[in-house]
């Protein structure tokens, strides 16, 4: 854990582990890229999420199937049908952070997976079709355009604060797969559905 100060407002910031690439000042919402040095490189200022109610909160601790975790960050995405939150969780066992998403009270744990082959352009994908992403034949149940509305906490990857993206989501052999088409990057996330007893918050 590393202590730094917000260069914009002077607030104290704690960087939880070596995987963190972005930290958001909880006081002024300034985003910082984390480098190896003692200083922070200020980025853009995003929207603050401190007023958005949630069941989780930054710093909350718990266990997922007995594996200790800490909630590090939250990213809220907005689309034409509303919004959703993704929570960055760090593991007590030192593994790289993952993403936790809640949908109607049911949790899914997402891991980023390196994309190893081509995927169809988003404008050719229709809801109800099946697309191939790595080894996953994804039955597409959702396709939307969205943007990042705001962030809080800290993250193991950089999140573009501006611009839109297209995402397609669906099921593949018992797992939930999400392809996100950013302006200059395509991300593949593979999720495991969690039982409601799997996640215990302390």
């Amino acid at each position: 854990m590393r202590q730094v100060s917000c260069t914009s407002c002077g607030g104290a910031l704690q960087i939880e582990n070596q995987f963190i690439r972005v930290v958001v000042c909880p006081y002024c919402a300034t985003n910082y890229l984390v480098s190896g040095g003692d200083t922070l490189a200020p980025g853009r200022t995003g929207a603050s999420l401190v007023d958005a109610p949630s069941r989780l909160q930054i710093g909350a601790r718990g266990a997922l199937r007995g594996r200790g975790l800490t909630v590090l960050g939250r990213a809220r995405y907005r689309y034409d049908g509303g919004f959703w939150d993704e929570w960055q969780v760090g593991w007590d066992d030192g593994a790289p952070p993952d993403w936790l998403e809640e949908d109607e009270g049911y949790w899914t744990l997402y891991r980023r997976e390196r994309l190893r082959g081509p995927v169809p352009p988003p404008d050719t994908v229709q809801v109800g079709s099946t697309v191939q992403a790595n080894t996953h034949p994804v039955f597409v149940t959702e396709k939307r355009r969205g943007h990042l509305e705001g962030t809080e906490g800290q993250f193991a990857s950089t999140l573009p604060l501006r611009g839109e993206f297209v995402y397609i989501q669906g099921g593949a052999a018992g797992r939930t797969v999400c392809l996100t088409y950013w302006q200059d990057e395509i991300e593949l996330s593979v999720g495991d559905d969690l039982d409601h007893t799997d996640l215990v918050l302390s």
Partner: protein
């Protein structure tokens, strides 16, 4: 009763907002709420791409089923809070004038899991979102494949629109939203797919049984929400159909089933010592033969006289078939003299053999008359009326009970609410 405005121990109020339409306080209890309605002006506030959209909204009709926002219901083994309501209207694409409506309530468990309580013509069902399912062609797929391997046959596809919303929802739902609904049924399991251009949602659940409905809403609701029982209606239909047939048979028997007269004896001299006999040619074995005896002599007061009636079959078997009883009784009842007698008696027997039979009549020696004149008439191929009437009566009672159990004529249907 708890209301959304005050929250519940398991669903405390997370945020209170001022309604942009009327200024009244609107409470939010789910973290992921994306649609809220104002309890004062019924405006719908929904999360849009650029913030909150406001729809003036309209008050939904009061549901006849006793469900209210904020109410805690014991469902599926958990106390579940009613958070929101969506009222839909579906229509037959081949005949858009054929429309129907139904309600769905969003209910939440203490651990945050959400389910949908649906009241439609099938009764009440509880379902939750299915995360793993498909692939599925919403326009032509014959079964909905679920992640656990089950294949739920599709029973109906139709377009629908949102008539209105109330309370709090975790998705953006607005009046006028349109979707395609695909309904699947597998026993008591029901799976629905809601399809829009951007999303396919699958939810699965089951019909609530009488005990669950009674526990949640009381006995009256259990009685009035239970769906028709197809088996009971089928039984009622079959039984009541047989009643009609039995009544027709009874009427036909009465009109045309008296049979053919094969012997008419105006005055048979019957004694206690020598049998009176007559030959009968019976050509319909298995069909009843009816004999009517009329005592022509006077029977003294307060006496009786029995006939012993026997039949000898073609193979020589002698069978006593009846003992018609003639009587004459008198007395005084409450100061009034009464005098009653029975001098006409009918007997029926079913011959087992075909051919010439011998009928024998004798007077019982213990009776008052040592000899008597008896008129008799014998009809064969007789049809019984009484058994048909008895059958019709018993079957009618069974049929009506089955009909009541099956039809539940006072059911609460969502269509009745308008």
């Amino acid at each position: 009763m708890t209301t959304i405005e005050s929250g519940t121990p398991s669903w405390p109020v997370l945020r209170r907002l001022a309604c942009p339409n009327c200024g009244a306080t609107v409470s939010q209890v789910t973290a992921q709420a994306q649609t809220l309605t104002c309890g004062s002006c019924h405006a719908t506030l929904s999360e849009g791409p650029d913030g909150v959209d406001i729809d003036p909204g309209a008050q939904l009709p009061t549901p006849r089923i006793p469900i209210q926002l904020g109410q805690t219901l014991p469902l599926d083994g958990y106390p579940q809070v009613v958070l929101g309501r969506v009222r839909y209207q579906g229509w037959d694409p081949a005949d858009p004038s054929d429309q129907w409506a139904w309600d769905e309530w969003l209910v939440g468990r203490p651990d945050g899991r959400l389910s949908w309580l649906t009241h439609d013509e099938n009764g009440l069902s509880l379902s939750a979102k299915v995360r793993q399912w498909g692939p599925f062609d919403v326009y032509r797929g014959p079964v909905i494949p679920l992640g656990d391997g089950r294949q739920v046959p599709v029973v109906e596809r139709y377009p629908a629109r949102v008539l209105g919303v109330d309370g709090e929802l975790t998705s953006r739902v607005r009046r006028g939203d349109e979707l395609l609904l695909v309904e699947g049924r597998l026993g008591d399991t029901r799976c629905d797919v809601e399809a829009t251009a951007n999303e396919l949602d699958c939810s699965c659940g089951r019909l609530l049984d009488d005990d669950e409905i009674e526990a949640a809403f009381g006995a009256e609701a259990a009685e009035r929400l239970t769906p028709p029982r197809p088996l009971s209606l089928l039984i009622a239909g079959v039984v009541l159909g047989s009643v009609v047939i039995a009544l027709i048979m009874a009427g036909a028997s009465a009109l045309y089933g008296r049979g053919r007269v094969i012997l008419a004896e105006e005055s048979a001299a019957v004694t206690v010592t020598t049998p009176w006999t007559a030959e009968l040619d019976l050509n319909h074995p298995g069909r009843p033969v009816q004999i009517e005896f009329t005592l022509l002599d006077y029977l003294p007061k307060n006496t009786y006289s029995d006939l012993d009636v026997s039949i000898i079959s073609p193979d020589g078997t002698d069978t006593l078939i009846s003992t018609p009883d003639f009587w004459h009784e008198t007395g005084i009842d409450e100061g009034e003299h009464w005098d009653e007698e029975q001098h006409v008696v009918r007997s029926t027997f079913v011959p087992a053999q075909q051919g010439r039979h011998t009928l024998l009549l004798e007077l019982d020696p213990e009776g008052a008359l040592p000899a008597a004149s008896v008129r008799l008439q014998v009809r064969d191929a007789h049809l019984w009326t009484t058994p048909w009437l008895i059958f019709a009566g018993v079957a009618g009672v069974i049929g009506v009970i089955a009909l009541i159990r099956g039809a539940r004529s006072a059911r609460w249907l969502p269509e009745d609410e308008d």
